[in-house]
Amino acid sequence: MTRDDTDMQDLYRELILDHSRSPRHFGKLENATHTADGINPLCGDKLKVYVRVGTYGDIESAYFEGSGCAISVASASLMTDTVTGLQVDKAEACCEGITNRLTDRGPGEVPGIDLQKLRALDGVRQFPARVKCATLAWHALQAALSNETAPATTE
């Protein structure tokens, strides 16, 4: 098996394919307190992220809808799994942590949060053209939590 075949299998791991085929928390969250659109102008893919933040500043629920490639949908699905139950500041730290990890721009860990499951996304690091697919939902979540009205983009 060549290095390229390994990279390919690393990108489309079973967990990624599973989440892209059966995304978790997929759909509209009716009683969301925060929402934002994420747009990848490169491909025109659009995701909408919904979050309900509870009285104590914790994320009670996170949903998303839209269409995208396997990487962007799986990443969004994994994201909703990860941030549900977290305090808003921790969720924001996760957004930063995962973006750092995929772009090698800073510390990819978040103290006190186990991002082990998100390692499934690490394969994308070998595919620079696809990193934005993986970070799209996280940018949208950041925008939602900071009440930004303009859609988040990957640019």
Partner: protein
Amino acid sequence: MSAVAQVASAADWRDDFPVLDQSMHGHSLVYLDSAASAQQPAAVIDAVARYQREDHANVHRGVYTLSHRATEAYEGARDKIVDFINANSRNEIVLTSGTTESINLIAQSFCRPRLRAGDKILITHLEHHANIVPWQMVCGQTGAELVVAPINDRGEVELEKMLDLIDDRTFLIAVAHVSNALGTVCPVREIVEHAKAHGIPVVVDGAQGVPHLDIDVQELGCDFYAFSGHKMFGPTGTGVLYGREALLEDMPPWQGGGDMILEVSFDKTIYNELPYKFEAGTPNISGVIGLGAAIDYLQAIGMQRIAAYEHELHDYMVGELRKVEGIRLIGEAREKASVQSFLLGDIHSHDLGTILDHQGVAIRTGHHCAMPAMQRFGISGTSRASVALYNNRDDIDRLVVALEKAKEVFA
């Protein structure tokens, strides 16, 4: 010429393009994205390099020999363009940065001063964003209306329905010669004929037309024809606006600066003559010289010969793609050129693009700067393979093998 001889010469053409001689992720490179940007033959690369090494100076300015040589080479390229599309004269060839600038020039210089609220600009549903947004902008500036002619499920412009949309407020018609997303060859000749009967000027977006068709603007009868150098094996950042001289003559400059003037004082500026009044500032001299070399290259082979070869290869590609289980072709016009868009099962085009890339096959994925055309088919994007004279049947076979591999990954 026999089919065998044509195949042999196609193999020679491939050798003219140095970039194709490389391996990509352990496979020989198969480049099927010429509709986005065509590769350059060594003749173009060498012409640009030779100019940079031996002849570079600013054009139209110096009295010294080097500047004269640069001007000769630059203006020589303009003459080649005149011949290439059979324009009437050099005055009709405005050099721009590409199709996009050419169309914006028409919108701002021809339309904006003339358009009145309620006037209409008629385009079609398959246009590239470069033939949509400049018209939207000038409509916004003037209160004119953008009217869109429908396309059918095959991706063809429905001529009768388009002509029905023409009325006494139709100011201008703008249409692609060949759709970059769908490959459709549009009925430009018929559109021009009807438009002329109503005295309506026609703009043809020829970005995808020039590389694949033998263009004769006088025979076509259009008023403007816009195209890009890099789609026809020339350098990026070069383009052409052909316009009928009488129309260009009446249009004001759209950018001010050096080179577009005859005389400047603080009271008054006298603009330069055609085509220079539309060419403010130092132009892309080396790029235009490269474009001239690309025209030499194409003319040495012959546009009709290229078109025939590509047509045969396109038909082979479509035939082979049809055999791939789970494929849905987008764009099945009866008259097409070079391009085939498709979807494969429920695999997103970006995932497909990545998997193909890792087998050395470069295709375009996404909306192809034609979002409304994608919306017409209820999709967000496609995968698109486009062929040029340097492609061959092996490339198509490699594409099909790579598609089968993608299905395995997503099985």
